[in-house]
């Protein structure tokens, strides 16, 4: 299906050069070629493939392995590493299997002498300038170059090997560390940043052997418009890109008896971290992980879903307030649609590229940051611990969370609200260091006082999840009809799925009284002002898709009419975050999403406003309800109109 239809009738700019982009194939212009099959032979196996299939795809259907490096399922074809070359009978040159479309009968050999020699030469040339040692490399044992060196029996460096680094390691960013000494110039990061994310901070510069991947003007990554999404890390075949690892500091805190070390775990890492321990994608290990974390030495293990529920209360209330101001008070300055703000990559994207829209962002902090602020205030008080002795760690699927917790605004507790953002990969490493066998550990629950959380918080991990969670609450509160009576099994399927942009309208047939908890913030007693209205919502994931929606809003298109838009920086939402296990692919993300939705479906509690811990928190601590005074202080934030400025 053309991308146009997938994205709900809107298309952004295609910014990547054609040489590095999209086409699988000369477009099929001839009617007779449509659906046509072509007979080919690969290594003496005969098969028929649809016109336009690449040799690589064809070989995979036969389980013939052709090595790849620059190819990635999420990205357009590049055809630059040349490791995938194959020999085609009658052609003088070898062809890149990843980039060669089958349009006529071919006889292909995937490991002829010429092919093997060429691959070995390619590897030798890459290794010539690859400076790094596997045992001190974050990608040891999960590196595509290392695997190939083994598969092709590299036993010496035919054309030499750099013995000193030629680049300084760039540690300027809070999230991403760039070690270009290990870069093999596959440009997966470039295509990720330009094509998939449409941020475009990475590009190839210079020519010939001087070619390198650089930022604008070769500035440190911390000083350019990088949104810290880490998608480039997830697609780098080697250890040239990695997240900034805080595990040494976390171990030090754990080992310090004076420190009370708390970890909150987000749903996406729990559905993915098993992959680092050999489990198939989509195996949720939430409760085994609780045990592992306690044994590793964390003093408390909390569920981020608790503050996800809290986020829904705050964010849905904020939306209702905006709607009321617009409809009842006829306030022209109200900004609608309201944008979600729980994806720090998206927030920074908005600040850089759409600074004129930062007022549209919900002022709610992300669940991670809400939790941090509460831990060092409410929890400290409750547990009678001096907040200065509390160390808060957040297990997140995300590299941008590392940046987020370092934003100077994120200190409303009087301390750094969240001390460390830890990714799934880094936690897996920490657990391995303890020798704990995660998949086979006994299950255990989260710690009180916030033990149980709702399935609404859980599905935050998938694209559309925040929207669904918000709707489960908002629809019920506004109409007084149980959400499950409108949406079967409480599954709001129209906002689920992986299409880049989704749009959905929900009519509001009747309205109810405003619950007491919200009355103070809203200043009205009924939702009559919404009677007969239609709630319009949209979902976008991956910032390239976010850009499409934003351009549509700017141009006054249909998305400008929406009331609430969920934006996630990462393709697939948090489950595809830049801190998740490597590799990533559409299938892997789908499996993780399935695990999350299955877990939600199995829960009793699936609506945020029914979470009694949240209700209690408002009662005993936040006092004047969602978006009230105390909430504003601890749970809300503000944004910077950055533009291309780096603040």
């Amino acid at each position: 299906m053309p991308a146009k239809d997938k994205n709900n009738g809107i298309n952004g700019s295609d910014r990547a050069p054609l040489s590095q982009r999209r086409f699988k194939m000369p477009e099929i212009r001839d009617e007779k070629d449509l659906g046509a099959k072509v007979k080919i032979t690969i290594d003496d196996h005969d098969l028929e493939v649809p016109f336009g299939t690449t040799i690589l795809e064809a070989a995979r259907t036969l389980s013939i392995k052709i090595p790849t490096l620059c190819h990635h399922e999420d990205l357009c074809v590049a055809g630059v590493c040349r490791i995938c070359v194959v020999e085609i009978e009658g052609q003088r040159t070898l062809q890149a299997a990843c980039a060669y479309p089958v349009t006529g009968p071919l006889k292909i050999s995937t490991y002829s002498p010429k092919v093997r020699k060429a691959r070995r030469h390619n590897l030798d040339l890459m290794l010539k300038h690859h400076y790094g040692e596997c045992y001190s490399c974050v990608r040891n044992n999960n590196c595509e170059l290392q695997s190939l060196a083994k598969e092709y029996g590299v036993d010496f460096y035919r054309f030499g090997h750099d013995d000193k680094p030629h680049h300084e390691v760039d540690r300027s960013s809070y999230s991403v560390v760039r070690d270009m000494n290990k870069c093999i110039l596959c440009r997966r990061c470039v295509r990720t940043c330009i094509d998939l994310q449409e941020v475009g901070v990475l590009e190839a510069v210079n020519r010939g052997p001087h070619t390198e991947i650089a930022t604008f003007n070769d500035m440190p990554l911390g000083d350019v418009v990088c949104i810290n999404c880490g998608q480039c890390i997830n697609r780098c075949p080697v250890g040239a890109l990695r997240a900034k690892d805080p595990s040494d500091e976390i171990w030090a805190a754990i080992d310090d008896p004076k420190k009370h070390v708390i970890i909150q775990t987000a749903p996406s890492p729990r559905a993915a971290i098993g992959e680092c321990f050999g489990l198939p994608p989509g195996t949720s290990v939430t409760r085994q992980l609780n045990t592992a974390l306690r044994r590793a030495g964390f003093d408390k293990v909390f569920d981020t879903n608790f503050t996800a529920d809290l986020t829904i209360m705050e964010e849905a209330t904020e939306l209702l307030i905006r709607l009321k101001k617009a409809l009842v008070d006829k306030d022209k300055t109200v900004k609608l649609p309201q944008f979600t703000s729980c994806s720090p990559g998206w927030v920074k994207f908005c600040e850089h590229f759409y600074p004129e829209f930062t007022d549209y962002l919900s002022s709610c902090k992300s669940p991670q940051q809400m939790f941090g602020a509460l831990l060092k205030t409410w929890y400290a008080e409750k547990a009678k611990i001096d907040p200065k002795d509390i160390v808060t760690v957040a297990l997140m699927p995300c590299s941008a969370k590392k940046y987020e917790c370092n934003r100077p605004e994120m200190t409303s507790s009087g301390f750094k609200d969240v001390d460390y953002g830890l990714t799934s990969r880094e936690l897996a490493q920490m657990i391995m260091e303890t020798g704990l066998d995660l998949p086979n550990l006994p299950a255990s629950d989260f710690d009180d006082p916030v033990g149980e959380a709702s399935g609404a918080g859980l599905i935050f991990g998938a694209t559309g999840g925040v929207m669904e969670a918000a709707l489960r609450t908002a629809v019920e509160v506004v109409t007084g009809i149980k959400t499950e009576d409108i949406f079967k099994n409480l599954d709001i399927t129209p906002v689920r799925g992986f299409e880049g942009v989704r749009y959905y309208e929900i009519p509001i047939p009747k309205t109810a009284a405003v619950p007491e908890l919200l009355q103070k913030s809203l200043g009205v007693k009924t939702f009559d002002f919404l009677k007969g209205a239609t709630l319009k919502v949209a979902v976008a994931h991956g910032t390239a898709n976010a850009r499409k929606v934003m351009e549509n809003i700017k141009a006054g298109g249909k998305f400008a009419e929406a009331h609430f838009v969920e934006f996630m920086a990462c393709p697939g939402g948090c489950l595809g975050g830049g801190g998740q296990p490597i590799p990533t692919s559409p299938e892997i993300r789908e499996a993780r999403a399935k695990a999350i939705y299955a877990e939600d479906a199995g829960l009793e509690l699936r609506k945020s406003h029914e979470n009694k811990h949240v209700v209690d928190l408002y009662k005993e601590f936040l006092k004047d309800g969602p978006c009230g005074h105390q909430s504003h202080h601890l749970l809300h934030t503000h944004y910077l109109k950055r533009g291309k400025r780096i603040v």
Binding site: P17, R29, G79, V80, R82, T93, K117, L125, F159, T211
Partner: protein
């Protein structure tokens, strides 16, 4: 500089206006057929049959189509397009109108080598004058309903931008890097539209052919390489310059014409071509034998051939776009090898490995640049083994 006008084909008499008006009175298919019959192959180096290219571009579906003239002339030792651009601009534009009519294009672009900026004024004046005479624009050359115009795009000095798909990337405002082929420009070219990219000389030759007939053209050259070709001759000879010779001329005869009989070797086809040694001077210059885009560099008896190889390899290491592994690091590795040879520190075993690497580059590189980069090195090594390995190489 000598300019030998032999008035065979390219420099023969032709009135562009008359030729165009006559040609555009004929059917497209007939014109393409004429070009096909003539056996004309691209003059830019690769030698793809021009009639076939135009036929494919003509058959391709597209709302817009383009004719692009490759005037990037970056191959070391080539300057024949410069002469054509200076003296035969109207012929070139006429050839582009012809191509546009044949494939159904509405827009033409000349991609002009950055260093030729000084020609821009003259070219624009020619375009203006042709517009005035209705040889461009609406109802072009008297053909009702046929509209075509040309603009000039200045390159920025990268050799690789002469490769047609890198040229198109550059036209689109991207880094000049070759694309994956297929798809080819004839179906998916500039802005994704069907595009015919041809060399300056190809366009002009095509115009002569439709005016004077395929049979006339085939009188020159060999059966597989018909017609004549322009040669840019430089180096150690008495009369360097631009020459027109029939295809199939022997290297020896060519040397006689230019006063280079003393030569110990001739580089045919520029840096990406082949180094022909004395004992091979009987070979012919034609697509089926020693092929060339027109560059002939003559090396006298005292030239150090290793230096020649080094010079070429430095050029490629510099000009590689850096996209694909074999070319990016292969050119560098071969250059380092040449330097080792120079210092007499290249063991035979390593030298064999380098030749083997060169062979890999020839078949595994993404574009013609990397594929031809080792040619000079390999052929010089083959032909001048004794000179280069005269001294022991250690180990």
């Amino acid at each position: 500089m000598t300019r030998r006008k032999t008035d065979l084909v390219l420099f023969s008499e032709l009135t562009v206006e008359k030729a165009l008006k006559r040609a555009l009175g004929r059917e497209r298919a007939e014109l393409i057929g004429e070009i096909r019959d003539s056996g004309l192959k691209g003059r830019g180096g690769a030698g793809f049959p021009t009639g076939t290219k135009w036929n494919l571009a003509g058959a391709a579906q597209g709302e817009r189509k383009f004719v692009v003239c490759n005037a990037d002339e970056g191959e070391p030792g080539t300057f024949k397009d410069r002469v054509l651009l200076t003296e035969y601009a109207e012929h070139l534009f006429g050839g582009m109108v012809l191509a546009a009519y044949c494939i159904g294009a509405g827009e033409g672009i000349v991609y002009l080598r950055g260093e030729y900026e000084y020609l821009m004024r003259g070219l624009k004046e020619t375009l203006a004058s042709m517009r005035e005479r209705h040889l461009l624009g609406k109802d072009c050359a008297g053909k009702k309903g046929f509209e075509f115009d040309i603009h000039i795009h200045l390159g920025a000095g990268a050799y690789v931008c002469g490769e047609e798909t890198a040229l198109i990337e550059s036209l689109e405002g991207h880094r000049g890097e070759p694309r994956n082929r297929p798809p080819f420009p004839v179906t998916t070219g500039y802005l994704g539209c069907p595009t015919a990219v041809n060399n300056v000389e190809t366009f002009i030759t095509a115009l002569h052919i439709v005016e004077k007939g395929a049979a006339w053209f085939k009188k020159f050259g060999t059966s597989k390489s018909t017609g004549t070709k322009l040669f840019s001759v430089s180096g150690d000879c008495a009369r360097p310059g631009v020459y027109e010779f029939p295809m199939g001329i022997t290297v020896a005869n060519l040397l006689k014409e230019v006063g280079g009989e003393e030569a110990k070797a001739v580089q045919v086809g520029g840096a990406s071509g082949r180094c022909v040694a004395r004992h091979e001077f009987g070979s012919t210059i034609a697509f089926e034998d020693v092929s060339t885009g027109g560059s002939i560099i003559v090396f006298g008896p005292t030239r150090n051939m290793l230096q020649v190889a080094k010079n070429f390899m430095e050029f490629f290491a510099e000009e590689s776009c850096g996209q694909c592994t074999p070319c990016r690091y292969g050119t560098e590795t071969l250059l380092e090898g040449i330097k080792l040879l120079e210092q007499k520190k290249c063991p035979m075993k390593y030298l064999r490995e380098l030749v083997s690497l060169g062979e890999t580059m020839q078949i595994a590189s993404k574009c013609g640049l990397g594929q031809s980069a080792p040619n000079a090195f390999i052929s010089i090594l083959q032909n001048f083994k004794h000179e280069i390995l005269a001294h022991p190489q250690g180990e």
